[in-house]
């Protein structure tokens, strides 16, 4: 399989849980997928569609029942130092990662991974400070605090810092904004955008929130019953509202408005992703169509 600038690639990936028992469940079936360097890919689908199973293959937490997974051109199902090293390039942030904070202080918690790599103490400290700064937490102020004294959004950022301290090339985030208030959610999304720009991270965002995916991702992969149902640039994907709704998904609210306008006879593009873009699109469609729409021209 030619991987080109692929950083993660799956070919014919099938995963069956509890094979050979009465509880056997096919979670993934024949998934082909390539994630290229620097991309941000949204993986969406209903609960049980196979999203979490898929991303757990990216760093070897799960092994394929059939098919294979490559990271940086190395096939993950082997053993040995290379394979271990390569798996580390993919950092996985689980759902509600703050439930897994366990150390006495924020510093200790973030230091846990790098310490296990056998790095010397100065290097560990440097990585912890840097990672905390990346998630917008001042190491001096937050380092000595107990994780339990932080807000939900701060705790989640500490958990993400723990993964970033391993210096992954690919960051996989499973529902990173679930349960956060609008401010916590904005902060996390803003940070992800910055890591992409500044650290050249490749990002995989697993999410139920089409609004988050629309704001952040270049491309959407829709899973349905363990198969890839749709794999397309974000704009193209959200323009196919009927197909998405057919598999229990939603389109962003802004897209919903545009689709209704078009159905009602106003010729607007329906692939706008932000409020500002949709606003411009509606204004130009109105301008093209007549003159009595604006208070300034009335």
């Amino acid at each position: 399989m030619s991987t080109g600038d692929a950083v993660v690639a799956c070919q014919g990936l099938t995963h069956v849980y509890l094979r050979g028992t009465p509880f056997e469940a096919v979670a993934l079936e024949g998934v082909d997928l390539v994630i290229r360097r620097g991309e941000c890919v949204g993986v969406v689908g209903r609960t049980g569609s196979g999203k979490s199973t898929l991303v757990q293959h990216f760093n070897g937490l799960l092994r394929p029942t059939e098919g294979s997974v490559w990271v940086d051109g190395v096939r993950l199902d082997g053993r040995g130092e290379t394979v271990r090293e390569v798996r580390r390039r993919v950092g996985l942030v689980f759902q509600y990662p703050e439930h897994q904070l366990f150390e006495e202080t924020v510093f200790q918690d973030v230091a846990f991974g790098p310490r296990n790599l056998g790095l010397d103490p100065e290097e560990v400290e440097e990585r912890v400070r840097e990672s905390l700064r990346w998630v917008g937490l001042d190491p001096e102020r937050f380092g000595p605090r107990s994780p339990l004294s932080l807000s939900g959004g701060e705790m989640r950022r500490v958990a993400i810092a723990g993964v970033l301290a391993m210096r992954p090339k690919v960051l996989v985030l499973d529902e990173p904004t679930a349960g956060l208030d609008p401010r916590g959610r904005r902060e996390i999304l803003e940070h992800i955008r910055r890591w992409r720009r500044e650290q050249h991270l490749t990002v995989v965002l697993v999410s139920h929130s089409m609004d988050d995916v629309a704001r952040l991702c270049d491309r959407v992969v829709v899973l349905h019953r363990g198969r890839v149902f749709l794999d397309a640039p974000v704009r193209e994907a959200f323009a196919q509202a009927d197909r998405l709704r057919g598999v229990g998904l939603d389109v962003p609210r802004v897209t919903d408005v545009l689709l209704r306008l078009r159905a009602g006879g106003l010729p607007v593009r329906t692939d706008c992703l932000t409020v500002e873009e949709a606003c411009e699109e509606i204004v130009s469609a109105l301008q093209a169509g007549g003159s009595a729409w604006s208070s300034s021209e009335a």
């Binding site: 209903r46 609960t47 349960g179 609008p182 009602g264 606003c279 169509g289 729409w293 604006s294």
Partner: protein, 286 residues
């Protein structure tokens, strides 16, 4: 104070965690609020604003540090009223996997009524009625762990319904669900309000979900900062921003169009509403 129409009366409620220790936290501060029968109230606010603490007072899971909460005439501080209060105000929590106790759906729903000591025919009648009301009757003999998140939450709602409550509190009960699961739970909540007259208190971070309520109560730092119909609350754009809340996306698009000089009507909160306003404008031209 207690007008006859009040179902739940929150009267100068203050709640302090770890009072008298260095970790003292004032979570709710002098809040007064009336929930009326059959009302659909969305409770919104940032993390740490006090909304979950307030909600846990509505069925005596927490007791006031100061002030009082009266449910259907019963004071939550009265230990003899505890079970009656919990019967009248039920709660559905965030995690669908933590709320189901039995291995068969109908047994789970029967758990509450059995504890009331009702006769078996009465129990099975209530279980059937509750499962029908949430659209889960055909799943009565299923194993709960094989259901989807939205279905599990509907079973949890049925368990509450079988107690014949007057109010159900949804404590971020849609947060962990996918869009379809959210829709199932919300539609169920709206239907129970419309058909059974059950009051709903829905705690959520989603301004879109809040926009569907009759009334939105916004908390910030333990106090009520806004309280009114969605249309009034979402008009307070600056105040919302101050307390870290967003406008629904559709309202933001409406505001943007108005700024660009498009002659639209009053603020729209739902996609269909905004699309109608825009299309009507165009029809007026033709």
């Amino acid at each position: 104070m207690s007008e006859p129409t009040a179902l739940i009366e929150v009267d100068h409620l203050t709640h302090v965690y770890h009072a008298g220790t260095p970790h003292e936290v004032r979570a709710v501060w002098d809040v007064s609020l009336t929930i009326r029968p059959g009302e659909f109230v969305a409770l919104v606010g940032g993390n740490g604003s006090g909304k979950s603490t307030l909600a846990k007072h509505l069925n005596a899971l927490l007791l006031p540090t100061d002030g009082r909460v009266v449910v259907d005439g019963l004071d939550t501080r009265d230990p003899h009223a505890l079970w009656e209060i919990r019967r009248r105000v039920g709660m559905v929590f965030q995690n669908p996997d933590n709320q189901i106790v039995a291995t068969v759906v109908e047994e789970d729903v029967a758990f509450g009524p059995e504890n009331l000591g009702l006769p078996p025919e009465e129990i099975s009648g209530r279980v059937e009625e509750a499962l029908r009301a949430v659209g889960m009757l055909e799943y009565r003999l299923r194993e709960p762990h094989l259901l989807s998140g939205g279905q599990k939450q509907r079973v949890a709602i049925a368990g509450v319904l079988a107690m014949r409550p007057r109010c159900i509190v949804f404590d971020e009960a849609t947060t962990m669900l996918d869009p379809e699961g959210r829709r199932e739970v919300l539609d169920t909540a709206h239907r129970l309000r419309d058909q059974e007259g059950i009051a709903v208190v829905h705690i959520t971070h989603s301004m879109e979900e809040a926009a569907e309520a009759d009334r939105v109560v916004a908390l910030h730092a333990g106090r009520v900062v806004l309280d009114g119909p969605p249309r009034e609350v979402f008009r307070e754009v600056r105040r919302l921003r101050e307390v870290q809340l967003d406008l629904p996306e559709v309202a933001r698009l409406h505001a943007c169009l108005v700024r660009r000089g498009v002659k639209l009507g009053a603020q729209a909160l739902h996609p269909a509403e905004l699309a109608d306003q825009i299309l009507r404008l165009r029809r007026a031209v033709v």
